[in-house]
Amino acid sequence: MVFRSYRNPHLSILICCILLMPVAGALSEQLALRQVNGDVQCGNTCITSLKHQDNVTVAITPTDGRLTIQWEDPVGNVIVNTLQLHIVLSPCKRPAVCTQTGSYRIQTWDGSQWHTVTTSAQSMTTNITVTDDLGLDNGYKARVINENAPVVTIDKFALSGDFRRPTKDTETFWDVYENNRVFIHRIGIGMGALFGITLAIILLRKIRLSRSQDTGNTQLSNTLQRHAQLKDEIESVRRELNSVEKARQDLQKQYYRREVDENTFKDMMQKYEQDRKKLQHQLEELREEMRSMVVE
């Protein structure tokens, strides 16, 4: 049925749109995440940058054999008090050769000293208090330290905060992200549902169509069957008629040669005549049915 919909351009366009919707949803979710996330898969040198909507530049560089995350406000007008840093470490896929075991420390630089904020095995979140007088030149730094590994691989990190609008300081990056995520997920679910419903409708229609086709096919095959049957019947009636005709001819020869008496001849001829008329009538009826069938 889906493959038959090409016959109906509107339906095919609709189907294409519906099919593309979840893809579009997934893509847009990915794009939304990219706006606030930095995907970092790096070894010794790993620099990635991500532009927040408020022009916050984030740079990551390895320092002292360890990963340092650094961000700065290029305008130098940081008003916001709190930034939130979320780091997801690269999952250790092959534990036997994995060096990234043990505990991690996430540290932030407040302009004069490092603060160890929290530790966790795989992901860490910390709030960084930002003050105006910290100045651009130093920037804000954060680093992830694993005592057992010279290089820490960060899978994802997110930095959130409103650098420009103090009135919105109640809304953190994570709120925005979460809202976006929920919104996008709802769209995704909605599209999924729409897709499902459409698919169901299409399937139902397909079933109905194939059923009606089945009925049509049954009618057609019935017709063909009757046609073949009629042909057989006509053939057999014709054969019967021929044999009656042959019997009539034979009887007349017998009569001429006086092999049958007059009365027998008359009786039998009358019987043959009746048979012949009956068969001819039958034949005519069968042929008529055949003709009407052909016209249909």
């Binding site: 007349q252 001429y256 040669r257 006086r258 001829m269 009358q270």
Partner: protein, 225 residues
């Protein structure tokens, strides 16, 4: 059958094969059948064969029809009786039934003026009707047939079987006196409805069968069975 038996062709295609070659010379042959069975046609075809084909003198005595009626009827089969009359090969004699007593005299008279080989009387039944009783009929027929035999002609007489009768003639008289009887009949149930049977033919090994025939553009024609 001996070699002395002389036969003349009947003129009916297919019939001579059934009667060893034709009618025996000097015999009286009766064609009988119900009305419309083609007795008159048979007679005319016999006459045409004699006069037109064999150049024999022929005499056609009719008690049923007029000469003109006969000329018209035979014309449809392409037989020109008027021309045969002119060539003196044919003489058509109208003898009304009530003149039955004069018929033998009229025959003798006709035969004086021409050499006749074939003679037709169509029909003797018509003369019988004018006679009072069976005895008179038998007497008339006896006298007539005796005269015909004396003349040495091949005579073909017709007799009309009444519609519901199973006999061969209306009074059951002539069948005993004639040499041959050909019965023409109808069989409505058959594909070919007309047929004939040679009921008797003296000096002849004739077919015992029923023979269907048709009347076509050239007259009576027997069909193969």
């Amino acid at each position: 059958m001996t070699d002395s038996i002389q036969r003349i062709p009947s003129g009916i295609p297919g019939l001579d094969d059934l009667i060893s070659g034709g009618f025996v010379n000097g015999t009286i042959n009766m064609v009988t059948g119900k009305t419309g069975t083609a007795k008159s046609t048979f007679c005319a075809q016999f006459i045409n064969e004699g006069a037109a084909q064999q150049q024999e003198g022929t005499l056609y005595i009719t008690s049923e029809e007029t000469r003109l009626s006969i000329l018209r009827q035979v014309n449809q089969f392409g037989w020109d009786f008027a021309s045969l009359e002119q060539q003196e090969l044919l003489q058509i004699l109208e003898v009304p039934p009530f003149e039955v007593k004069s018929v033998i005299g009229k025959i003798s008279e006709a035969l004086e003026s021409m050499q006749v080989n074939r003679l037709v009387i169509d029909s003797v039944s018509m003369f019988e009707v004018s006679l009072e009783d069976r005895h008179s009929i038998r007497k008339f027929l006896f006298t007539l047939f005796q005269r015909l035999r004396e003349l040495g002609v091949v005579a073909l007489i017709t007799s009309e079987i009444p519609e519901r009768s199973e006999g061969l003639s209306p009074y059951g008289a002539e069948e005993f006196m004639v040499d041959a009887i050909i019965k023409l009949q109808y069989q409505e149930l058959a594909d070919i409805q007309r047929n004939l049977v040679v009921r008797k033919m003296r000096m002849t090994d004739h077919s015992p069968n029923i023979h269907p025939f048709e009347i076509g553009s050239t007259g009576i024609q027997l069909k193969q069975i």
